[in-house]
Symmetry: C2
Subunit: 276 residues, 2 copies
C-alpha cells in the first residue's frame, strides 16, 4: 500500500482539485449584497452562498446579545451546507459576534470591520470618520480596530440610520438622499476628517451621493471592496469553471429578489427560503 | 349536573368588580405607542400592558406568514400575563394576523384596520387614500375593510416606508420629512382623495408634516384615535384607581426607553425585557 511521503506536495486545501467548498456570505438582509458583489468580482469562478436574515432584519437597532445569537444561528446553517469560509458581510453582526464566531467555528471567518479599519489606517493622514448603524457605532468596533493598528489616529463615529431605508427604497440618488447626507456628514466634515469609512454594507449604494457631499478632499473606504480583497488574499486564485451563486433568505423572497436585482444589476437565480 | 339557563345573566368579563384585567397592546416595536397613548387618554384608570417586539421589528417588510407567527407568539405571552382584551396596535400585524388571533383566542381582539376603515367611510365623499407599510399595502386590508362597508368608495393605497425611519430618528418635523411627504403624497393628491388614512402606527408622529402637505381639503383618519375609541366603546367607563402601565420589549430596552419618551412625552416606568 503506497504511503504519502513528505516530499510529495499536498494540494492546498484552499485550491482543491475537486470543486472548492463554497464561501458563505452572511448578512442581516440585502445590504451584504454589496460585499457579495465585490467577492463575486474578485473570485468569479468560486461558488458562493449568500444568506440574508430577512425575517429579523435590521440588526443595526438591536442589542449585541441578540445580534450575536442570530448570527450564530446563521453560521450553523451555512456550516451545514458545507461552506469552507464564512464572511460576515454585516458590520453590526461583525461588531457584535466576530469573536464568538472565530472561537466556535473551525473554518476561517472574515468580518467587514477589520479590513475597513486597515484600509482606513493605510489611507488617512490622522482623522478618520466612520458612518454606521446605531449598533455598530455603540460597539465602537471601528475605533477599537483602528486603534489596535495605530492608537494615534483620531476616529469620529456617527450613526446614519436613514441611509439604510434610502438604499432599500431605491432613493440613493435623489435630492432627499443628498439632503440627508449633508445633515449626517456635516459634523464629520466640521471635524476635518480626511478619510470616511462606509461602515454599513448599505452605504456603498449611496456612494455617489456621499462623494458629492464630502468632495474630493476626503477619501472613502468602502468596506465591501476591502473585505473582498481580504477574501481573495485568503483564498488565493480563483478556481475555473462556472460559479454557482445560491441565495438563501429567511423571509420575503420576492422583496429580496427585487432589491437584489437593483443592488447586483442582474436577475438572481437559485433563491431559497430557509428557517434558522 | 346543573345546566346554565338563558335567563341567568352572566357578568360581563369586561367590567369586573375586582381590579380589571389589563388591556394588552401589541406592536412590532415603538410605533404602537401612538395607539397606547390614545388608549391611556381614553381610559386613564385602566391597567395597560404594552408589548413591542423590538428584536424582530419592523414587520412592514416581512411576509404575512412570518408576521402571523410572530404575532401569535406575542399574543400567547400577553395571555399568560392575564390580559382581558388584546389590541393589535400594528397595522401590518392586524392585516396579516387578526383572523388567526380572533379564531384562536377567547378574549376580545381589536385591530387597528377596521376602526380606521370605518372612520374613513364615515368621513369620505368617495375617494380615500391610505398610506401604510409595504406589507399592509400588499395585503389590501384597508381596501377590503372599506369595501365591506361600502363597495362604491374608491380606495388608493400607497406605501410610505421612509416615514417609519423618519419618525424613529426624531426627524418628523424636518425639511427632509416635508420633502419625503410631498413625494409620497403627490400621487394620492393627484388622484383627488378627500380623506387620508394614516395606516401605520408611526405616521401620527408625522401628522403636522403630512397636514402641511395635504392642506385643509383632505381630512386625516388617525387609526390610533379611532382604535382607542373602539376600545373605549368595548370596555365602557374606565375603572377608578391608579393605572399601572407596564412596557415589555424583546430587545434594546434603552433605545425603546428613549424613543418612547419622545412618543409619549414622558418618561416610562416598569420596562421589562422578555423573550417570546
Amino acid at each position: 500500500m503506497p504511503t504519502r511521503t513528505r516530499s510529495s506536495p499536498r494540494p492546498s486545501p484552499l485550491v482543491p482539485a475537486s470543486p472548492p467548498a463554497p464561501i458563505g456570505i452572511f448578512d442581516s438582509g440585502v445590504g451584504g449584497l454589496t460585499v457579495f458583489r465585490e467577492i463575486a468580482r474578485a473570485l468569479p469562478h468560486h461558488p458562493l452562498i449568500y444568506l440574508g436574515d430577512s425575517a429579523r432584519v435590521p440588526y443595526g437597532t438591536k442589542s449585541a446579545d441578540t445580534v450575536t445569537g442570530f448570527t450564530l444561528q446563521a453560521a450553523a446553517h451555512l456550516i451545514e451546507r458545507g461552506i469552507g469560509m464564512l464572511v460576515v458581510a454585516c458590520n453590526t453582526a461583525t461588531a457584535a459576534a466576530l469573536p464568538s464566531l472565530q472561537s466556535s467555528l473551525t473554518i476561517p471567518v472574515i468580518g467587514v470591520v477589520e479590513p475597513g479599519a486597515r484600509a482606513a489606517v493605510e489611507q488617512t493622514r490622522g482623522r478618520v470618520g466612520v458612518i454606521a448603524t446605531e449598533g455598530t457605532v455603540r460597539s465602537k468596533a471601528y475605533t477599537r480596530a483602528i486603534h489596535n493598528i495605530d492608537p494615534n489616529i483620531e476616529v469620529i463615529e456617527s450613526a446614519a440610520p436613514l441611509f439604510v431605508s434610502l438604499a432599500e427604497e431605491g432613493w440613493a440618488n435623489t435630492h432627499v438622499a443628498r439632503e440627508v447626507a449633508e445633515i449626517y456628514l456635516e459634523p464629520l466634515l466640521d471635524a476635518n476628517i480626511d478619510t470616511l469609512v462606509l461602515g454599513c454594507t448599505h452605504y456603498p449604494i449611496l456612494r455617489d451621493t456621499i462623494e458629492h457631499v464630502i468632495g474630493d478632499k476626503v477619501m472613502i473606504v468602502d468596506s465591501a471592496e476591502t473585505t473582498a480583497a481580504s477574501v481573495l488574499a485568503a483564498i488565493g486564485t480563483s478556481s475555473n469553471g462556472a460559479a454557482k451563486h445560491t441565495f438563501l433568505v429567511t423571509d420575503a423572497e420576492e422583496r429580496f429578489r427585487r432589491i437584489a436585482g437593483e443592488f447586483l444589476e442582474r436577475a438572481i437565480e437559485h433563491l431559497e427560503l430557509v428557517t434558522l
